[in-house]
């Protein structure tokens, strides 16, 4: 992609990504917040494409689509006001959170801008999908397997955490019942 093409994709994508990411925490509808997060992370995939990482960009879009749709289901299940129709305020320490976030953003941006990075321009020598495949199945195979095992452990751990008995075993009473029993 040419410099002009990169700039034409990068700037609008970055602006829309940041605005949608901010609206995730501004909108009162939690289902809408999940879809806005999907939009923000999907547009981030477009930025990856602009930075000559097409494979990672499309992979990001694919993974985030699945993950965010699941997240929307969870929000509808577990939030007291998923549609935002009751006008509930689900925030705390708003000002302090904004102050800390703004301070961290300014500090990180200052480091990014003021550091003399040994940067090169985006060239045409980007690795293609075939090279990434050889990397995954060759030199980085052990790391790739470790990532796969991590997902497996997360799946098993997630099921164990989420099952009815929880850590107390199958068939154990609910928390209220345990509290009444005086445990």
């Amino acid at each position: 992609m040419s410099d002009l093409g990169t700039a034409l994709v990068f700037w609008p994508s970055a602006a829309i990504m940041l605005v949608t990411a901010l609206y995730v925490f501004i909108t009162s509808s939690m289902a809408r917040a999940g879809l806005l997060l999907l939009a923000a992370l999907g547009i981030e995939g477009l930025i990856f494409v602009a930075l000559a990482s097409e494979f990672l960009g499309f992979l990001q879009l694919l993974m985030m689509s699945g993950e965010m749709v699941i997240m929307v289901f969870f929000m509808v299940m577990f939030m007291p006001d998923p549609g935002g129709l009751m006008g509930m305020d689900m925030t705390h320490d708003k000002r302090r959170s904004a102050a800390v976030a703004a301070a961290v953003t300014v500090a990180l941006a200052a480091v990014a801008v003021l550091t003399d990075w040994p940067a090169r321009v985006v060239g045409d020598d980007a690795p293609d999908v075939r090279a990434i495949g050889f990397e995954v199945m060759g030199r980085s195979m052990v790391t790739f397997l470790f990532a796969a095992m991590t997902i497996l452990f997360a799946m098993v751990g997630g099921v164990l955490l989420a099952k009815a008995g929880g850590r107390y075993g199958i068939g154990a009473p609910l928390g209220e019942a345990r509290g009444e029993a005086g445990d």
């Binding site: 925490f25 923000a40 990482s53 577990f78 705390h92 961290v104 990014a112 990075w117 997360a154 989420a162």
Partner: protein, 102 residues
């Protein structure tokens, strides 16, 4: 012309927005969303460094795959914890989950 500091500054802004959400929201799922945005910013950093420092390296792209895995794992374990907490105390609000508080 897009340069590395520009990419890093955009990633810093995304990280700040995610941090605001993680600190300021009361619902566990929204906190997870904030963490997702912070990890997204980390991924953008990695892609920026990959493109502007070693454009011909494949190991950087692989590192992004690892961060994506981390995002999926974080969401899966987070959702399982939400289910567990909701079953135990009938709420997913972080202000009400004080059982482990010292």
């Amino acid at each position: 012309m897009i340069s590395l500091p520009v990419v890093l500054a955009v990633a810093a802004a995304l990280f700040g927005i995610g941090l605001y959400g993680a600190l300021g929201q009361t619902n566990t799922i929204m906190v997870i969303m904030g963490v997702e945005l912070m990890l997204g910013a980390a991924m953008l950093n990695v892609v920026g460094f990959l493109r502007y420092s070693h454009p011909d390296a494949t190991s950087g792209a692989f590192f992004v795959l690892v961060v994506m895995t981390l995002m999926a794992v974080e969401a899966a374990v987070g959702f399982a914890l939400v289910i567990s907490a909701f079953r135990h105390s009938r709420t997913a609000e972080v202000d009400d989950l004080t059982e482990l508080k010292g």
